[in-house]
């Protein structure tokens, strides 16, 4: 049973560029959340996708956008990259319904903005 997978594992970009990160949820999961984890900090909620729609958004600017596909996989797009966007980007998935509080995390994508 494959867990949550993310690609790429590492990425280096320069300021002003755009980046797309990808996530495939754990088998049987239909809800995907994205988190940003800066060095030395806990993960911060960016947004969540369910049924191909954004359900809730954290305190992140519109430069951060996402998408969910019919197979439940998801993309995170960041435009006009800033140095401060350098972080580990984590994807987490879970199933909807009772008893499904646990979110399972992928290995993350380490983004470095130069």
């Amino acid at each position: 049973d494959a867990g949550v997978t993310q690609s790429p594992t590492h990425l280096i970009k320069t300021r002003g560029q755009q980046v797309t990160l990808r996530c495939s949820p754990k088998s049987g999961h239909d809800t995907v959340s994205w988190y940003q984890q800066a060095l030395g900090q806990g993960p911060q909620f960016i947004f969540q996708y369910y049924e191909e729609e954004e359900r809730q958004r954290g305190n992140f600017p519109d430069r951060f956008s996402g998408h969910q596909f019919p197979n439940y996989s998801s993309e995170l797009n960041v435009n006009a990259l800033l140095l401060g966007d350098s972080a580990l980007y984590l994807c987490a998935s879970r199933a909807q319904g009772p008893g499904t509080d646990t979110q399972y995390f992928g290995p993350g994508t380490r983004l470095t903005v130069l």
């Binding site: 959340s33 900090q41 806990g42 993960p43 369910y50 359900r55 509080d101 979110q103 995390f105 290995p107």
Partner: protein
């Protein structure tokens, strides 16, 4: 603003010691509290707590929630070098997407 605070931020102990990690929270619409272990990248799930006063155990790790004090502790007995990691506490909210609000994490180092 929803807030989760962990203490200590960093802890160094010798193998075999027992450690207690703390997590306190101030959130609206509490649903559950989760503990994760983060070694390299992916946080791995340890415990989920919803009811106050009920201890969850897994081997040498245990955790308990105190809803009156808005806090939780994670205990690790007979620590091993493999327990070295960042331990993250997160609170899941009821409303909306039921997002997780994380603390800063406690970096635990076990020296042989």
């Amino acid at each position: 603003e929803d807030k989760v605070v962990q203490s200590p931020l960093s802890l160094v102990v010798h193998e075999g010691d027992t450690v207690t990690l703390n997590c306190s929270y101030e959130v609206t619409n509490f649903r559950s509290l989760l503990w994760y272990k983060q070694e390299k990248k992916a946080p791995t799930f340890l415990f989920m707590l919803t009811s106050s006063g009920i201890e969850k155990k897994s081997g040498r790790l245990s955790s308990i929630l105190d809803k009156k004090e808005l806090s939780s502790i994670l205990n690790i007995t007979a620590t091993q070098t493999g327990d070295s990691a960042i331990y993250l506490c997160a609170v899941r909210l009821i409303q909306g997407a039921q997002k997780l609000v994380f603390g800063q994490g406690t970096r635990l180092t076990i020296n042989p």
